[in-house]
Symmetry: C2
Subunit: 506 residues, 2 copies
């Protein structure tokens, strides 16, 4: 490596490290606000988080970063770098360019707008009054269209937004995979709905003591290989996982004493995210590659552990007896099969975050199609509520009685997060495709599960996915691990194989 | 206010606010490391704290701060400022000058030295091997002498160090007050030791359930007026209080199931610090004046609540029945008087942090006299162990069997904190003098206590001390509140009035 590149690299790594340390500090404060801080302290604390985030942003778009990237992202420098440094330079360049292409005063206006917009959305949702929110949403969409022009785009304008959350993802690709999924899932959901053999789920709403729920979640997390010496579980309003660094990855959950599923499955979900972050390669520490490859790949791991493991029959062949022991009055008389069917009930509903694993994808497709139409100009913001309701009727067979449980239900759009929703469904598809590869590598997977041997699963995922962090793109990962591009057939087959027997369908 | 002063003031306040926000961020991370963070995450986290502290220091000695202070600390500008801004400018100038007078490379060397020195001290204490620690301590002392030359001094060199922790404190003043104290306390301790009427304390070492101890501490903290919506209590190895901002002041404790006193009295001690910080005036928020006036004044509040309230007879007239209810097997047969005498046992010992409220001050005087002699050149570091043992024999009548329980017992010197120890005894004297003033203002104080009316006490302290923060110097506060300078006679009288009856002395 020549001397000027070497010098620039050392400075660049120092700068990246500093950004990462600010990120970690902000992460601790965010976690603290949501799990520990006393009520009255919150207001002042958000200023502190604002300072740290601002500093992080300032460094990542600083002239210093600019001139270092000018040296390091030049082809003759890039080819002197090892894999990690090369990817790191590319990743920082991507962020730097994205941020620097927007005139600072426009960005500032946008930040102010989205802050207002989020508050207005909250009120509008509460009042089920879309008209209140509409002017804000129109401006947020207009800003995003303006940003797309600064950033540039190839093909569909919406591609540029998709790329933020899922590098390399395009409308063309998503139309194909979502098309393949919709074609099979919509009729499957309809068939399931008509089955006379519906599971009885009433026992899930008995009273489940909070402390015992926590105890069981901790037990399962340990079984999954979550390292409690490098993490912890707490209670927060909305469950989340936060990887402060690979040696401190915390998860949260919440408890509904009359809904057994909520706490356990949210713990396994966040536990999946956490396993990813705890097992990132130590080589990546202190770099921006020390993170999941994308929103979609990250979500594939939470969904995999929550649904493909946690809602599988062999898993409960091993663990149901422990659960019964903990809740003898509530579950003593419930057979394993009865339990398994109940936690896998499929039922179209209006609210995305309460959806089962099959219908969930249809909620996402509704949002994807609406976002796509907003950014192609085929749909105006004022026509969103009608379009929303129509798609819910078509795909899920249900229709909101008001916009609060319809188009206003999610916070995402108010903050300008367009292009984010598809990650959730991508996560499900990646998960099924990865699970298929795992099953080829471990033909006795079900036997392992039924003996409670979860560690080999975590080890395989670490070896093939977790340790890479952001060192590869989502597409590179999925190609390497499964030998083909993202293909919706694995999720469809998983659904067919799992849910037809549950509902007694041929 | 003229325009240039106004402009400088706005910039200065912004800079001070930023320093304060960094301080708050570092505070949250520090608290998290000591109460919540998983074991493996600690190593990486100290780098984050290092970055934030470094940034805080960098801003407070920055050229920007320098030029703003040049404008604002000029007499013609100072006289245009209101009280808060004037004090703030003076305080920042003090810190700025202190930091900028040391050549940066010498300061860097000193930081490195004290880090090493602290590790070596730890090993030396463990091995009771002063020779191991001696060369480091010699260098730390030499550095402090060098710094004193940079900073300048009036009278005794040690005055400059005292002033860091207790602005305005001098050897002349301390010799006088400690002299007055020693003269009466040394003979009192000897008399107490010879009394045939020693309290029985054995029941304090029964088994006290940790959860119930916590429950009782929380109850007493609430009674004291500690606001749990602006704070919380957790467990850490060493108890501490941390005021992140006045709406988030957290305390910690620890539990010894075979020592009833530890958790309750450390909670009341930290609770006293916390009441101070929770009740700082909102006017001071976001400034460096939003803090206790000095180490000594801060300590006066922890000691006041711990000892003068928590170890008083009328307090237990009200609360002992609650304690008995919680621990019927352990305390059911112990009379209130028996309990009161046991928690007020006076017994010379070797270890400062385990000392009772009377002998505690003698531990401090030993350290004060040794520090003073080190900085006047009357004592060499190599002669410290001998001098230490001699003073313990003279003042306390006990002698360490090795240096681990003698001269090596405290961490302070290894980190260069000379001038800090006197704060502890100053705290006791301030507390007694303030309590005397309080009793004049509230002649029915004991009746209030025996009815559990603690709120008027907190309100009086808020009105006269807490709300001022660093707006006044320790001396200004004590003059305003008590009408005279620090006078050791109040502590002596408090001791005489309290402990003579306990020990059946005339």
């Amino acid at each position: 490596m020549n001397e000027s590149v070497q010098r620039a690299l050392a400075q660049f790594r120092g700068l990246v490290k500093k950004i990462k340390l600010y990120q970690e500090a902000a992460g601790v404060l965010y976690w603290d606000m949501r799990t520990q801080a006393p009520r009255k302290g919150l207001e002042a604390r958000s200023e502190v988080v604002g300072l740290l985030s601002g500093e992080m942003f300032r460094l990542s778009v600083s002239p210093e970063m600019g001139s270092l990237l000018e040296v390091l992202a030049a082809p003759e420098a890039l080819e002197q770098l090892d894999d990690i440094n090369r990817r790191l330079v590319e990743e920082c360049k991507r962020e730097y360019d994205r941020s620097n292409k927007i005139p600072p005063e426009r960005y500032q206006e946008y930040v102010t707008l989205t802050t207002q917009s989020e508050s207005v959305w909250e009120e509008a949702k509460e009042k089920a009054d879309f008209a209140l929110f509409r002017p804000y949403l129109e401006r947020v969409v207009a800003f995003n269209l303006e940003f797309i022009d600064y950033w540039g785009y190839q093909g569909h304008k919406y591609n540029t937004l998709l790329d933020i959350y899922e590098p390399g993802m395009t409308v063309e690709k998503l139309d194909r995979v979502f098309g393949g999924l919709k074609e099979r899932v919509v009729p499957l959901v309809a068939e399931i709905g008509q089955s006379p053999d519906q599971p009885d789920t009433s026992f899930l709403n008995r009273h489940y003591d909070e402390q015992k729920q926590l105890e069981f979640s901790r037990f399962i997390l340990k079984e999954m290989g979550y390292d409690f010496e490098a993490g912890r579980i707490d209670k927060s309003v909305h469950p989340f996982a936060t990887g402060l660094n690979p040696n401190d990855v915390r998860i949260t959950t919440n408890f509904r004493e009359n809904d057994f599923q909520f706490s356990l499955f949210s713990s396994m979900h966040e536990g999946g995210h956490a396993l990813y972050e705890q097992n990132l390669s130590p080589d990546l520490a202190g770099t921006l590659l020390c993170d999941g490859a994308s929103m979609g790949i990250h979500e594939s791991q939470s969904r995999f552990w929550e649904n493909m493991i946690g809602r599988s029959r062999p898993f409960w062949q091993r663990y149901y007896r422990d659960l019964q022991k903990l809740f003898p009055a509530e579950l003593g008389a419930v057979s394993p099969e009865h339990f398994y069917r109940a936690i896998n009930v499929v039922k179209p509903s209006l609210i995305r975050i309460e959806a089962d694993e099959v219908t969930y994808n249809l909620h996402i497709m509704v949002r994807y199609e609406l976002e796509k139409a907003l950014f192609s100009g085929d749909l105006a913001v004022r026509d969103l509520p009608g379009a929303w309701n129509e798609k819910y009727r078509d795909y899920l067979g249900v229709e909101p009685s008001h916009d609060g449980e319809g188009v206003l239900q999610d916070v995402h759009w108010s903050g300008g997060s367009f292009g984010y929703f598809p990650s959730y469904a991508l996560g499900n598809m990646y998960a099924a495709q990865i699970a298929h590869a795992l099953r080829k590598a471990m033909p006795d997977l079900d036997d392992c599960l039924s003996r409670g041997e979860l560690k080999p699963i975590k080890d395989w995922l670490t070896e093939h996915i977790y340790r890479y962090g952001k060192l590869q793109t989502p597409n590179e990962i999925i190609m390497r691990v499964t030998g083909e591009e993202l293909n919706p057939r694995y999720l469809v087959e998983y659904f067919e194989n799992k849910f037809r027997p549950i509902y007694g369908l041929a």
